[in-house]
Symmetry: C2
């Protein structure tokens, strides 16, 4: 039986392990927190620091293969493990490119992949030379995650919020749509694209409102989106699951925003909405099985459940009963003991043939389900 490890024990690990139990595979997880969402669903849990060379190396050295659920892992250890014959998904070279936003942008440029204009800045003072480039997004090269490590700099007055560390200054694009495409790549290079996903944002709060799949875009743009996403993945030259996030501007130009070399929030609906989910698919890739079907069962919406403002402490969930009365609504609670404002605590998937119904129910779910702290 193959022995496969996951670095990180959050919700992505949890959902990977739910899917793993279909296959002949012995599972290993490493994470600092022994009560993390994935800890109780693997065969072997190791408490350890995924950013520490020794911890990662020692965890991985007896395994057949390794994957990640977060980019912030020790890539030198992965490189050494790869050299010693452990299969790594994604390849450490691809991870290295993606993990550093400067290298990632440079990779798009070198491979003629359309992406917004950018300038590399080494420190805060650098930005004074580029005030003419504003409005722009300043993105920390290393360590950004889930909206952290990004500052929108609209004018000179905002420079005070700029990062005093290596970063990318990205020209602001007026966005019509933000689209995500999940792609699976097998060891032999074969690939499979999932239908594209519409990421609908609350412009006021710059927060993801909900996701709809398949995205509502004309075929001509869809074709561009898929071609660009596929080129990103092909040039990364690595098996695994990839989430490519793209912008469509007012002139229907398509730009890559960023890529994640792993299962991703924008693919969670695939558990119920597609025949082979992104989690199932990654096991097929890692175990050397043929890729599954990415075909849609029904159109889907996803709403993320975030910890409510003003609530920190032991998590309680309000409104699940009400929304589970809606036909084809599915709950995924990640099992995190503690909630805090904005923390991803779960997600809810809605299936329906009717797009209007999806949006209606997504809004209803957002208004009904709350993650509070026990008083």
């Amino acid at each position: 039986m193959e022995r496969i490890g996951i670095l990180g024990g959050g919700q992505l690990g949890r959902m990977l392990l739910q899917a793993a139990a279909n296959y002949p595979v012995e599972t290993f997880v490493m994470e600092n927190d022994a009560s993390c969402p994935a800890a109780h669903l693997c065969h072997h849990f190791t408490k350890g620091d995924i950013s520490n060379f020794d911890d990662v190396y020692n965890f991985g050295k007896g395994l057949d293969a390794l994957t990640i659920e977060i980019e912030a892992v020790n890539e030198d250890a992965l490189l050494k493990l790869e050299n010693e014959g452990v299969r790594i998904y994604p390849k450490p070279a691809a991870l290295k490119t993606i993990k550093n936003k400067i290298l990632q942008k440079q990779f798009y440029k070198d491979n003629e992949i359309p992406t917004s204009e950018f300038i590399i800045t080494q420190n805060k003072a650098d930005l004074n030379h580029h005030t003419g480039f504003l409005p722009a997004a300043h993105k920390l090269a290393m360590g950004g995650y889930d909206g952290r490590g990004v500052e929108l700099l609209r004018s000179k007055d905002d420079l005070i919020r700029a990062f005093d560390a290596p970063a990318v200054l990205e020209k602001m694009v007026t966005i019509k749509k933000e689209i995500a495409v999940i792609i699976a790549v097998a060891d032999n290079g074969e690939n499979a694209l999932y239908p594209s996903v519409d990421m609908v944002f609350d412009n006021r709060l710059n927060l993801l409102e909900y996701q709809i799949s398949p995205a509502d875009i004309p075929e001509k743009i869809l074709w561009k989106v898929e071609a660009v996403a596929l080129k990103v993945v092909k040039d990364l030259k690595s098996p695994g699951i990839f989430a490519v996030e793209l912008f469509v501007d007012m002139d229907d130009n398509v730009f890559v925003n960023e890529t994640a070399p792993r299962v991703h929030n924008s693919g969670h609906h695939t558990i119920e909405a597609n025949f082979s989910s992104q989690f199932d698919m990654l096991w097929r890739v890692m175990l050397g099985y043929p890729l599954g079907s990415t075909e849609h069962i029904l159109p889907a919406a996803i709403v993320n459940l975030l910890g409510a403002e003003g609530h920190s402490g032991e998590a309680v969930y309000e409104g699940l009963n009400e929304i589970l009365q809606i036909e084809n609504v599915f709950v995924h609670i990640y099992g995190k003991k503690q909630t805090k404002p904005g923390r991803k605590m779960g997600h809810i998937t809605i299936l329906s043939k009717e797009k209007q119904e999806l949006i209606h129910q997504a809004n209803r779910v957002k208004q009904t389900v709350k993650v509070l702290a026990r008083i």
Copy 2:
């Protein structure tokens, strides 16, 4: 968070736990074997004997609810736990009725539920008075499981194989079809029927060949099947998941064969083929959520993977790669370390709009996938 336990740690427990990770629930499993299929997927595993009063009572007494994945559990302990406020799915009274084949048959008779004619026998000698009743099936009152505890007595010559213990002698019915219906019942009595399942047997070996859902029966018979199955469940007066197995004879009469008060092999296709699976549904029932949708996504076939004849030892799986190339084929390997002839080691689900395609692929899967012992 609700604390819910499962008595038994086999494949049913495993699939229940895969589904549990969607919900806010803390899971407990008790089983004698610490490397059983479900052991690594729960929050808390207890090594213990599910037929032992103290073990079951001690396991259950701190929990909010308990379910079973096999009937052979200590029902006195469950009764005591129920009296102390632990919710039991199914109720111990219903379990008691079903678990003993004599009581089960008597229950059908008392409730005017059609079932094949029967005679209760206390020992082997009893059968001499009933040779005129043959051909018949002799079924042990207690302890039968998965085909064990049943002897077909075609004539007086077969009486040597009769059981010398309390048993039921059931008149042999000439069967046109064997149908299974999975039904979910909520605490408030609400219920939901899954589409019926055609159990196709190899008559030569008396082995289940494959299952197809929905069953291919005229609406008039389907109506009878569903009405009878629903009556069984209503008269059992218990929440939970129930699998009612029925016979359709040559005159289109419908008889109950037997009922299982738990998730069941005949419902495994619901994982991929129905919006809410039998496993998802049981959590909805136990957590007090509304019932899910039993609607079909696509027609499905299931093939059970049994340990190959002549092979005992560490399990290896042959042919998975080949059959995973077929569109919408899904593998479920139960993670049992040891295989032996006839042991249920996994199942494979096939989805297709075309019934002929389902049968064709089911046969292909049967011929291709083998569970062997490592040499």
